[in-house]
């Protein structure tokens, strides 16, 4: 089962969204986004555990968090766009 990543164009947007997840007890990490995920380059992602993905997506949407896309991060290194 994959972990999930929500990509953001700016560190500030990622940090604001991270705080929303923190307040709801969803463990998460802010990381630099792989270059391949952002067409215009340089961005950040919030990674959450596999079982938190759907809930995190629902919360971030409810708060109008400005994430760009959601990706599934597989243990073997594959990264695929995900629909949650």
């Amino acid at each position: 089962m994959p972990d999930y990543a929500f990509t953001f164009q700016s560190i500030t947007a990622a940090q604001g969204s991270r705080n929303i997840l923190d307040r709801r007890g969803i463990e998460n990490w802010i990381l630099r986004s792989p270059k391949s995920l952002l067409g215009l380059g340089c961005g950040y992602l919030i990674k959450v555990r596999e079982n938190s993905g759907p809930r995190a997506a629902s919360i971030l949407r409810a708060w109008n968090a400005p994430f760009v896309r959601i990706y599934a991060l597989y243990p073997d290194g594959r990264i695929e766009a995900a629909a949650l």
């Binding site: 164009q9 700016s10 560190i11 500030t12 947007a13 940090q15 604001g16 705080n19 802010i30 990381l31 630099r32 067409g39 215009l40 380059g41 340089c42 961005g43 400005p66």
Partner: protein, 366 residues
């Protein structure tokens, strides 16, 4: 030495401020530029300051833009809203940080409200001057020369009703008077970090109710392939490497203000100013600019027959740090009738004491 020039900069800082600056200089890299620990910790430190400012001034963290000082923020705000020939209404108590950018733009500037310590007159003047042709209103919250508190809530309300963008210069109020981006519905609020917020010099905040134009373009750590600046805040207005150490010091200053309480700081400064004004008013040959109904902890005065700069020099030689002259606000002096004489200004901070005020009074009584 007794420091009484906090309207220029708060020289006395909480101990936590230099500590935070030093810690940042020793351990933090560039925020929003890397994924390694010192860069990510820098990004967290910067966000902490943004969030603290957002909480204090009723904004969202992304609406808080770090600037070099209030002048930088005011230039951003004014140049986002006005073009050559546009009509802009300002108060009669504006600093050159407002007057000069507007002059440089070639804006048609209307000055509203020139009566000192008269909020009703100020409001009525804005009511007359602001029309549907007005491109922006720019108003100081507090006169840096006289400590006059302008009725900015009502002026902002008037602007909202007439659909005119409102810019607040909170240089002399941030940290002592309530300043609310959402409450005022302002287009922009500019403030320094190094005065009432007790941060280091070289720091300032621009609260953005709308997207500003860019004054600088460059690296933002985001959308790097594009030759355009990102169109989202705060990245849009923060080109180049941040003043991380200064921002960490500012965060410590904000925490000090929150812990001490703005009300308490204002009461303290007003009490010192009141005592000074009352005592000086008893002296012959002293002209005092005071009105307790609408004045912060700033007091201007003049000694009859003595050049204000000589008074300040004499005070300085005796250990009292005050500022004389026009205080970069000739418009305020023109409004108050002191353009030719200037004034001597005493401005208190949270760190001044009653004992210090009494020493100044004793010296001036000699």
């Amino acid at each position: 030495m007794i420091y009484l020039d906090s309207s220029a900069t708060a020289m006395q800082k909480p101990k936590t401020v230099p500590r935070a600056v030093l810690k940042a200089m020793r351990s933090l890299a560039s925020p929003g530029r890397g994924g390694y620990r010192p860069a990510m910790e820098a990004a967290e430190a910067v966000y902490d300051c943004r969030a603290a400012a957002a909480e204090l001034f009723a904004a969202q963290p992304e609406q808080v833009v770090f600037t070099m000082n209030a002048t930088h923020g005011l230039n951003l705000a004014i140049k986002s809203l006005a073009r050559r020939g546009d009509t802009v209404v300002i108060s009669g108590f504006e600093h050159n940080s407002v007057v000069r950018p507007l002059h440089h733009l070639g804006a048609n500037v209307i000055v509203a409200g020139e009566k000192l310590f008269d909020p009703e007159n100020t409001l009525a003047a804005f009511d007359r001057a602001v029309t549907e042709d007005t491109k922006a209103v720019v108003c100081t919250h507090v006169s840096n020369v006289f400590g006059y508190i302008l009725p900015v809530e009502q002026i902002a309300d008037l602007c909202r009703r007439r659909g005119v963008p409102f810019v607040l210069d909170a240089s002399q109020s941030a940290g002592t008077l309530p300043v609310s981006l959402s409450g005022l519905g302002a287009a922009f609020i500019a403030m320094p970090g190094h005065k009432g917020l007790y941060g280091p010099s070289g720091t300032g905040l621009l609260l953005c109710g709308q997207k500003p134009a860019t004054l600088l373009e460059g690296g933002s750590g985001s959308l790097s392939k594009s030759p355009e600046m990102p169109d989202f805040l705060p990245d849009l207005a923060e080109a180049g490497t941040q003043n991380t150490a200064g921002i960490c010091g500012l965060a410590a200053g904000l925490r000090f203000v929150q812990e001490r309480g703005m009300d308490e700081i204002l009461r303290h400064e007003q009490a010192l100013r009141r005592e000074l004004a009352e005592e000086l008013a008893r002296l012959d040959g002293m002209r005092i600019f005071a009105d307790d109904r609408c004045q912060t902890g700033v007091l201007s005065f003049l000694i009859t027959g003595e050049d204000c700069e000589l008074t300040a020099q004499r005070l300085g030689e005796n250990g009292f740090c005050v500022r004389a002259g026009l205080h970069c606000a000739p418009l305020a002096h023109k409004s108050a009738g002191t353009l030719e004489t200037g004034t001597v200004r005493v401005s208190f901070s949270a760190f001044n004491t009653k004992k210090e005020t009494e020493r100044l009074i004793r010296y001036l009584k000699k």
